[in-house]
């Protein structure tokens, strides 16, 4: 299975990564190589195999279905909130600033 330059451009758009001309050419080859390699799995009979969807089959550990006081907005420590917002590259008035969506 090999993929085309157009496929690579489409995937880059979905993945939100701007690629250079050189990267587009490299990935066209690299991704095709890996897809050829993993094509080996078609040899395996999986008709009766249930997909293993996670790292474990153990039952999820559930916590009580009740609000945790620490995570209620009114209880938040303003200094802690300010510290988290400070991690954002662009800020205004204590909020994270982003470009308009449309």
């Amino acid at each position: 299975m090999s993929i085309s330059r157009k496929d690579v451009e489409h995937i880059a758009k979905l993945a939100r990564i701007e690629l250079s001309e050189r990267e587009l050419a490299t990935f066209e080859k690299d991704l095709s190589d890996v897809l050829n390699f993993v094509g080996k799995l078609n040899e395996v009979d999986t008709a009766s195999a249930a997909p293993l969807t996670g790292g474990t089959d153990l039952i999820n550990s559930m916590r009580k279905d009740a609000p945790d006081a620490r995570f209620i907005l009114e209880n938040a420590d303003p200094a802690e909130v300010a510290e988290l917002v400070k991690a954002a590259p662009v800020r205004k008035d204590g909020y994270i600033k982003v470009r308009s969506v449309f």
Binding site: A12, I17, V38, T46, A49, P51, P89
Partner: protein, 476 residues
Amino acid sequence: MELRDLTIRTIAEGMRKKTFSAEEVVSAYCATIRRKDAGLHCYLEVFEEYALNEARRLDGSVDAFSDLPPLWGAPIAIKDNMLLEGMHASSASKVLEPYVASYDATAVSRLKKAGAIIIGRTNMDEFAMGSSTENSVCGPTKNPHDPARVPGGSSGGSAAAVAADLAVAALGSDTGGSIRQPASFCGVVGLKPTYGAVSRFGLMAMASSLDQIGPLAKNVDDARLLFDAIKGGDEYDATAVADAPRPDVAGERLRIGLPREYFGAGLDDDIKAVVMGAVKKLELLGHSVKEISLPMSEYALATYYIIMPAEVSANLARYDGIRYGHSAQNAETLFDVYAKSRAEGFGAETKRRVMLGTYILSHGYYDAYYLKAQKVRRRIQDDFRRAFEGVDCIVGPTSPTPAFAFGERTADPLKMYLADIYTVAVNLAGLPALSQNAGFVERGDSRLPVGIQTIAPWFGEERIFSIAGQLERELI
């Protein structure tokens, strides 16, 4: 105080007997790091001031304890993908260059509670993607046994730091072999715990169904002390289990299986000889050895290279240039903020895997790749389940070769991926496995360590420590 002779246990004993203080131990490690790490590059940052302050705090409270916690005063390094509150953490990526952790990873806070001192953050392949540390944005770590060779990866900085006495022990993370393979290349002990044995909270997610944090240490006893300190359930990680059924440390005589698929083509002859020499010693101790088959082994790497990038592409979507980390300066639109920030922030291998994962999960290909791989993953797990009906543990080489030279595999991603051929199946099946040194091989003028891997049934870490400890006593 000779750092070469120190272990977690002897440090804690020294503190108990007041032979030396935590401050003296931390100072000695910091001095050695200053002297040796410019050449090796194990650390991305040494928390010298923080570690010395912690040491003084511990020294001041020694008398408050009737029995000191097990890791008391031990200077321990953490891989750069785990969080220590208030400290920079970057996963060796440009995208997280400006990031400061706002909380402690559960494994890190448990180390601290047990008296350990976090001495610095170690180099790694970017976002734990690689087998050599050559994918670090900060440049590679060198192997202490031969500086022209890689330390393995992705936890290469942690393994090399322990091997070079720049930390008494370290934490790493293992998604497809990232603790065991560098442990093998650097001649130290590395444990990948059972999936769910250690909380992943505060570990930067790579492939969530495969990632586990584990110890790198100088001996099996120290690896066990670290594992006991960090294991257990955690309300912040729903996959971390507190009380899973644990298999017994089966009687004195264990049945050891040698998978024929782990000793076939591709394995260096002298590596095989060293591993078989260690197996012989286990036999002489009274354990029985038999050949077994894990017929799905040849499909493990291909399965891994579907499941892992799929999860990577989802997990790394969070690095968007909006909430934290690197953000492109010249972006006009919101789409450009994402696309340019990620283009500038991610290295080549990270981009390759995000692209691959995005393709695999995209419309029309999900069933052919991802669902198929999940089914094969089930069959790989069944393989091990069947094998463990006839044996108590499985033993083989950790890596088909010793440490390779810089640049030897960077041109061909598939060739680099083969470094994980004996380790990935363990992650896919969620099993625990430990690599320890079994001996050395010659390459040119260098004497390079060879790792032997012991795999046990789910939550069988105690069985691994038992047999690995016995082997260690025979080999020293």
